[in-house]
């Protein structure tokens, strides 16, 4: 499947490098302690719990009055056993569900909650992204604004709970905002 990619420790390190390098290059002061500046400026983009790595959790700015938002990220399971994303929290929302979404050949948008959670097989990476799997933030208490960061958690069946920070990207952002994955 297109969204699965086995990856070892080196691969993960390479990804972290790829993710942090452009941010470092984009930093206002090109010289000196760019990496520490990046770490200090924003939340770290990579989170780990057990054998699970979560990269770049993000959400999208919402229109006024919206009561839902999508949560997106890449999840890699480096362990020998399958794990499942079964729940979580999001600062501005009252509820959190894991959904599968697709637009079929008939151009019908279909969505269903994954009651048993989203499986992350051993050695695989699953991407939660617009048009596919996503975290469904329910009962949003206020609109999300581009540029803000919101705290949250992700709960895995085996690895347990990890605290993450979601960055809010502009309305209409089609795919992962950083790391150059937006080729369509």
């Amino acid at each position: 499947m297109a969204w699965t990619r086995p990856r070892g420790v080196l691969g993960t390190a390479a990804i972290i490098a790829c993710l942090t390098l452009p941010a470092a290059l984009a930093s206002e002061t090109p010289q000196a302690s760019a990496p520490t500046r990046v770490a200090a400026e924003g939340a770290p983009a990579v989170y780990r719990v057990g054998t699970i790595t979560v990269e770049r959790p993000w959400s999208r700015a919402t229109p006024g009055g919206a009561r839902v938002a999508g949560g997106y990220m890449r999840i890699t399971n480096a362990g020998p056993e399958a794990d499942r994303l079964v729940g979580g929290t999001f600062a501005a929302a009252g509820g959190f569900e894991v959904h599968e979404m697709s637009v079929g050949a008939d151009n019908v948008m279909r969505m269903r909650p994954l009651a048993a959670g989203l499986e992350i097989k051993p050695g695989e990476t699953v991407e939660l992204k617009p048009g596919g799997y996503h975290a469904m933030m329910l009962d949003l208490q206020r609109p999300l604004k581009a540029g803000e960061s919101l705290a949250g958690t992700l709960r895995f069946e085996k690895a347990g709970t990890v605290e993450v920070t979601y960055t809010v990207q502009p309305l209409g952002t089609p795919a992962a905002p950083a790391g150059g994955h937006s080729h369509h």
């Binding site: 839902v68 938002a69 999508g70 509820g95 151009n107 948008m109 048009g131 369509h184």
Partner: protein, 204 residues
């Protein structure tokens, strides 16, 4: 003998009724080769009369759309991805069309009228191009609209009394007389969509 005499009227009625029914079935099932005076494009009949309410609480019918081409698509505000993206995309296409975009109308029809009140839709639309009109109504009115456009939608319970709505994500482009022209679909690139909209407003 007496059987036929006694039952002459009901039997005749039955025979006539069967004929009418058979004729009706033929008329419904066999499409006419082309009605005189109507230009057909060889595609399914999409569009037609409707009665809905805009985000300002104003009634809108197909009569209000006459004279300008329009785009129609279906969605709802409790939709995390496809619907805000569709509204965002069409807003950015309208921006690229510039003043030519004033020559068309854009309608976002809620498939979740129970939650999408005109007030909520008004707030929601503030994030998008002001030329977009949102429409809602009673369940029956929305069903009639979806049926006219051959659009599918269905409520899907998600637990805890919540639900989501599956729906057709097609954007229908309609001509100035309300006739179906073409569609924009999610898999098309932006340039293709913009070219279609330019052709639509140029033809008006």
């Amino acid at each position: 003998m007496s059987f036929w005499k006694r039952n002459l009227v009901p039997l005749t009625a039955l025979a006539l009724g069967s004929l009418v029914l058979a004729a009706a079935i033929v008329l419904v099932l066999v499409p006419p080769p082309g009605r005189p005076g109507v230009i057909t494009s060889g595609v399914a009949a999409i569009g037609g009369p409707f009665r809905l309410t805009s985000q300002t609480g104003t009634p809108v019918t197909e009569a209000d759309l006459k004279g300008k081409p329009f785009a129609v698509f279906f969605g709802f505000t409790h939709c995390p991805d496809v619907c805000p993206t569709a509204l965002f995309d069409i807003s950015s296409l309208l921006k690229d069309l510039g003043p030519a975009g004033d020559r068309m109308q854009v309608l976002f029809v809620s498939v979740d009228p129970a939650r999408d009140t005109p007030e909520l839709l008004r707030t929601y639309l503030e994030s998008f191009d002001p030329r977009i009109t949102a429409l809602t109504g009673t369940e029956e009115e929305v069903q009639a609209m979806a049926k006219a456009y051959r659009a599918f939608y269905r409520k899907v319970p998600t637990g805890g009394g919540n639900y989501t709505v599956e729906h057709t994500a097609t954007v229908y482009l309609m001509g100035r007389s309300g006739e179906f022209v073409t569609t924009l679909d999610a898999h098309e690139n932006r340039e293709a969509k913009l070219a279609k909209l330019k052709r639509l407003v140029a033809a008006s």
